[in-house]
């Protein structure tokens, strides 16, 4: 357990594997303790510089990463697309090389194009690259914080510490992902993460919002949400990605809600121990009814809070690993 299993970059959940995910979840518990302190800051990454390069809008992910880096005492620079040279026509590669030339240790990338963080990882010489969401591809830290939150809830209910559950609590766990799977990077990372930990993943979405092919995906597809809900231990709701055009894939929002929204009526089908997650931002009244979002089973706010601890763990495991350049 003493040798970190994380690689140099975090581009996909597949980079971690089951042991890497377990390690992130384990270390994140220590950072969750840091967050409970009166002064939630440790000197761990003093002198390191972390840059956030967000080519797409974001509130929670960016703030979460920046808070995580600051609580580790790293310095944070954030490149806002609107005010950067990207607007003047600079290419992604030149932007990244400029940033790295300034001695930045980690680059956190969000980009509308799937694979952009992989490209960035190929260009950097010594910086670590973390994928904060690329197109429809992946959003690994979101899936990690979902797993962390689910384990935390399971541990609380069992009256034990989350660490004592390890990752065995995920074995056979029934996870149901509902909503716009096709356009969701969160869904892809969740499928990989939950599957790696031994959970059974089912998808439920209108045919037009499922990927064209699910070949190779370790999932089953549930036809009817009402039936599927009762069998799920974890229900992950996804937002209808209107900005990616997914509104055009359903006849109307009202019909989508009627068949795939977690309405108050439908929430009655949930098993009493079910955990409902949502990566945010929630659109109340579409994929989740407002009164359901406020039920104790819905852990959305807790996911946001845990996001910082999980991202601290990811930053620590990547930047604190031996061989990473030390500025002294």
């Amino acid at each position: 357990m003493s040798e970190p299993t994380a690689g140099r970059h975090l581009l996909s959940i597949a980079d971690l594997g089951p042991d890497g995910i377990a390690e992130v979840l384990r270390v994140a518990e220590s950072f969750a303790e840091v967050e409970r302190r009166a002064i939630p800051k440790v000197p761990t990454l003093r002198g390191r510089v972390v840059a956030t390069l967000f080519f797409e809008e974001s509130t929670r992910t960016r703030i979460s990463f920046e808070t995580a880096a600051k609580r580790l005492s790293a310095d944070v620079v954030s490149l806002a697309l609107a005010s950067s040279s990207v607007k003047k026509g600079e290419s992604l590669r030149d932007t990244v090389e400029t940033v790295e030339a300034m001695g930045i240790d980690a680059v956190i990338v969000r980009h509308g194009a799937a694979g952009a963080p992989q490209r960035v990882a190929g260009w950097v010489e010594r910086a670590h690259v973390i994928n904060a969401g690329d197109g429809w591809h992946e959003h690994p830290t979101q899936a990690l914080l979902d797993c962390f939150t689910v384990r935390q809830v399971l541990a609380e209910r069992a009256g034990v510490s989350p660490l004592s559950l390890g990752t065995e609590c995920f074995a056979g766990l029934r996870v149901l992902i509902v909503g716009d799977i096709a356009h969701s990077r969160v869904a892809r990372s969740q499928v990989l993460a939950y599957h790696a930990l031994g959970a059974r993943v089912a998808l439920c979405a209108p045919g037009s919002l499922l990927p064209p092919s699910l070949e190779g995906w370790p999932v089953t597809v549930a036809g009817d949400l009402d039936d599927a809900l009762g069998d799920a231990d974890v229900v992950s709701l996804l937002r209808l990605q209107a900005e990616r055009g997914s509104g055009a894939f359903v006849p109307s929002l009202r019909e989508y809600t009627a068949r795939y929204g977690l309405t108050a009526r439908r929430a009655a089908h949930l098993s009493k121990d079910a955990v409902v997650t949502h990566p945010g931002p929630m659109v109340r009244g579409v994929e989740i009814a407002s009164e359901v979002a406020d039920l104790p089973a819905a852990v959305v706010t807790r996911q946001v809070a845990n996001g910082v601890a999980v991202r601290m763990a990811v930053l620590f495991l990547l930047l604190g690993a031996p061989g990473a350049e030390v500025p002294r």
Partner: protein
């Protein structure tokens, strides 16, 4: 003297192969009893005393010392645990990972904190522990109790209560367990 898996020993895990037993389990118990009495004597009782065991080797010792202290004085002493991974000065130089979640049971401000660890070597863990502790509050006094002081300090740190002063070579390894204290070496798995 049994070989023992040492997965958590930094920088890397391995198998501890002992070559000489220094203290038996009974010796360790006697030393702890003496140290408990010294803690009471030095501090004129147990008012405001908080024991904090350093993860992982110091934790069982802190728990045992707390038991002894309550036998001696008839009052319970709060016991906490501290993991110093995030405060180490060798992050990025070798694998550093937290081994357990820190648990400080009470506000330590103006308390009398006794840090407990199994082996005092370079002093770097204690340095990290002092920094970590200051993030939880301003203790009135911090004292250090160790089962073994093996020398080779790299920082100006000294213990207040010592179970055994043990001259060692730098490349040796000292193992404190329920079976006592042994010197040996760490072999790769």
């Amino acid at each position: 003297m049994a070989e023992r898996e040492r997965s958590h020993t930094r920088p890397l895990g391995g198998v501890f192969v002992p070559h000489s037993q220094v203290l038996s389990a009974a010796d360790v118990q006697r030393a702890l009893t003496r140290m408990a009495h010294e803690v009471v004597e030095r501090n004129g009782g147990l008012d405001d005393v908080v024991l904090i065991g350093l993860q992982t080797g110091g934790v069982p010792l802190a728990l045992r010392m707390a038991e002894l202290l309550s036998d001696v004085e008839g009052e319970a002493v709060p016991v906490g645990t501290l993991d110093v991974a995030f405060y180490r000065d060798d992050i990025g130089l070798r694998p550093v990972l937290p081994e357990a979640v820190t648990d400080i049971p009470c506000d330590i401000t103006s308390k009398l904190v006794v840090l407990v660890d199994d082996v005092l070597f370079t002093g770097r863990t204690v340095r990290a522990a002092l920094n970590a502790l200051s993030d939880y509050g301003r203790a009135r006094v911090v004292q250090l109790a160790v089962m073994v002081d093996r020398g080779h300090r790299e920082l100006p740190i000294r213990p207040d209560f010592v179970g055994k002063n043990l001259p060692t070579r730098r490349d040796e390894m000292v193992d404190v367990s329920d079976d006592g204290v042994a010197i040996g070496r760490l072999e790769a798995r």
